[in-house]
């Protein structure tokens, strides 16, 4: 997918572009706010990654301009600030996601891919299906191989988020943000324990495991047969 990276730090940008290319994407680079705004206006990107503090022009104003013109290209805001109030201002300006520097590339990649997925139009899916795992979002029921799997409300939301992003890496922070609505970093990996509980319910005793741990990145739910 086409990704515009607006970032003034040459080294960081070069690394980011290389890594995105290796992940199979087509990234373009803009080194300052004005060039970035001009390229963003062309409107041919699936995701825009923009640093908040840029020479010549503030990153948030670029997003604001896009939104004013009705351009809803998903944007990921990068910032060295990254605290509660900054995230709020970033999202209020029209950014879709917010990532604080320093970040792990796997985190950025997972978020960029999640953003691109979000953009896909179409009706809201009421049933998610991965292999023989099925989730009915209306009746709040989950079944695997036809057998009902009872889940706690939070486990349901966790699985729902994973299934929504099936085939994509979902990081621990993404889960914490989207399932628990917390933006801090718990000192212990509490998410891992929730995942292993969920795994015990949906994978244990069934043939093919669906919920996978991606080392150094996060988790992914996918149909192993595919």
């Amino acid at each position: 997918m086409r990704i515009l990276v607006i970032e003034d730090d040459r080294e960081a940008a070069a690394y980011l572009l290389k890594a995105l290319r290796e992940a199979g994407h087509v990234p373009d680079h803009a080194g300052d706010g004005e060039a970035g705004a001009a390229m963003a206006e062309e409107g041919r990107y699936d995701v825009i990654v923009v640093d908040r503090m840029l020479p010549k022009r503030d990153g948030l104003s670029i997003i604001e301009d896009l939104r004013k013109r009705g351009d809803m290209t998903p944007t990921l805001v990068l910032s060295a600030l990254g605290q509660v109030d900054d995230r709020v201002t970033g999202l209020r300006a029209g950014g879709d996601d917010y990532l604080a520097k320093p970040y792990a590339f796997s985190e950025l990649l997972a978020r960029v891919e999640a953003l691109a997925r979000r953009r896909k139009p179409g009706e809201v899916e009421t049933v998610y299906r991965i292999g023989d795992l099925e989730m009915d979002r209306l009746s709040h029921t989950v079944s695997r191989a036809g057998q009902p799997v009872p889940l706690q409300p939070r486990e349901f939301r966790l699985l729902e988020y994973l299934m929504k992003h099936a085939g994509q890496v979902v990081t621990r922070t993404m889960l914490l943000e989207n399932v628990w609505d917390y933006h801090f970093d718990p000192q212990t990996n509490v998410i891992d324990v929730h995942i292993s509980r969920l795994r015990a319910k949906i994978d244990k005793g069934f043939g093919e495991p669906l919920l996978h741990t991606i080392r150094g990145a996060g988790y992914m739910i996918r149909d192993g047969a595919r």
Binding site: V84, P102, H183, F184, Q187, V193
Partner: protein, 462 residues
């Protein structure tokens, strides 16, 4: 800059000058007004006296003719404190009266209102002022009737003197106020600037003098002292941080470097490189975590915008955190319970309060195991209760607790008690909690749960 220039530039001098100018202006205006109105009153009185005299003499003239007027004038002229009279013939020769000399032209201007002119009573006396009216009598005679204005002049002199005194008094008062302001008041301001200079020079323990009178200078000194207290605390915090960064960040950084160095020197095989790189990423993630925690604390201590503080429910915050940690606790064989019997609202930031409670629960789960007796189940309890006008959020465990002497210390950044050094963590958890509590204008207290540790956060209820 000369000494005079310095004096002129002081606030005391400027204030005194302004006082002086304002008071003088008032005094002059007041005296001028009084003298003007008294003057016009006196003039009116003289005019009406003259008019009455003229009328009286005219009466005499009508009944007895000129001789009668002459007689009356002669008679009245000799009385003490008499009005002024003068009768001349056509050639200007004085026939009767008590005035020896008036301006010659005056007697030609008869039939007009009273005018003020100089005159002499007798040749030996000096010139004086009088208000006179000239009348034409039958047969070319002229008559002058008037009043001496000596009283008038005297009054004017009194007023002038009063004005002089008033100005002198104003100068005196201005000098006194200057003295008072500069000595009593500005001296204290000078002492404030002297103290601040000393503090800027590096003596952070310096404080402003509070005299105990409770005046505005005391209040100013108290607020400035409170500010200095805070600055000193912040600077000490900063110093502690840099000391601790040196210690706590240098260790993992050194480890990181050593590992890479060892990999470089070791066998060239992908598997071992891979393992090193993975371990390095893990280590650097931990470093990032520490930096983020530090940054977060700094941001919280710098304060949040008011919009970030909304009404939240204490029980909901506890339940959310407990729900997040419950599987972890269960995995470690710890029972995590929430007690929040009533709905308690308070003004705060859900995210930060959640993080504070999460840090406490995290700590409790990590450390409750240590020192736990085999036969006793390990428990962590989070609870919310109303305490007067406060909300008390409590996280208690039944582990080994913290010795009373160490309780203050663990709230500081990077402080980790010796026996917990091996456990993972940045040593910033509790200081972040303390920063969040300060932001919410609350207090934090570490107590004995007998056995175990109780951490109580008290926040003002909303």
């Amino acid at each position: 800059m000369t000494a005079l220039g310095r004096v002129v530039r002081t606030t005391a001098f400027k204030l005194s000058a302004i006082y002086f100018a304002v008071f003088s202006a008032f005094a002059v205006a007041f005296v001028l007004y009084i003298s003007y109105s008294t003057n016009s009153l006196l003039t009116q009185q003289v005019e009406s006296t003259i008019a009455a005299e003229v009328m009286g003499l005219a009466e005499q003239g009508r009944s007895g003719g000129l001789p009668a007027i002459f007689e009356v004038v002669e008679q009245r002229s000799r009385q003490p404190g008499a009005s002024l009279y003068l009768i001349t013939d056509v050639s200007g020769r004085i026939l009767a009266g008590n005035v020896s000399r008036v301006p010659a032209a005056l007697l030609e201007r008869s039939g007009m209102g009273p005018v003020t002119v100089p005159y002499q009573r007798s040749a030996e006396e000096g010139q004086r002022m009088a208000m006179v009216q000239v009348l034409r009598l039958p047969g070319g005679f002229r008559m002058l009737v008037g009043r001496d204005l000596g009283e008038h002049e005297q009054f004017r002199a009194i007023v002038t003197r009063a004005l002089g005194w008033a100005v002198a008094l104003m100068i005196g008062l201005a000098l006194v106020s200057w003295f008072f302001v500069s000595r009593r008041v500005l001296k204290r301001i000078d002492s404030v600037s002297a103290t601040t200079r000393r503090i800027m020079a590096g003596d952070l323990s310096g404080r402003l003098e509070v005299t105990g009178t409770g005046d505005e200078f005391d209040r100013l000194a108290e607020s400035l002292n409170a500010m200095l207290e805070r600055i000193e605390a912040l600077l000490h915090g900063l110093k502690d941080v840099s000391d601790n960064i040196a210690h706590d960040l240098k260790t993992p950084l050194t480890r990181l470097r050593n590992r890479l160095e060892a990999a470089l020197a070791g066998p060239e095989d992908t598997a071992s490189y891979r393992a090193t790189v993975e371990a390095t990423i893990e280590e650097s993630d931990r470093l990032i975590q520490i930096f983020n925690a530090l940054l977060m604390i700094a941001r919280i201590e710098a304060g949040l915008p008011d919009t970030a503080m909304v009404e939240v429910e204490a029980g909901a915050i506890l339940r959310d955190v407990a729900e997040l940690y419950e599987p972890l606790a269960e995995e470690k064989g710890i029972r995590l319970t929430v007690r929040s019997p009533e709905t308690i609202r308070l003004k705060g930031n859900r995210e930060l309060l959640g993080q504070a409670v999460a840090n406490l629960v995290d700590n409790a789960i990590k450390h409750a195991r240590a020192g736990a007796v085999e036969t006793r189940p390990v428990e962590v309890t989070v609870s919310a209760a109303r305490e007067g006008s406060n909300v008390a959020l409590r996280v208690a465990d039944n582990g080994c607790g913290i010795p009373a002497g160490d309780r203050e210390r663990v709230l500081q950044r990077f402080v980790r008690l010796e026996k917990s050094r091996s456990a993972p963590g940045s040593g910033l958890g509790l200081s972040l909690v303390a920063a969040v509590v300060r932001l919410h204008h609350g207090t934090i207290e570490l107590g004995d749960a007998g056995p175990g540790l109780t951490v109580t956060i008290r926040l003002p209820a909303g």
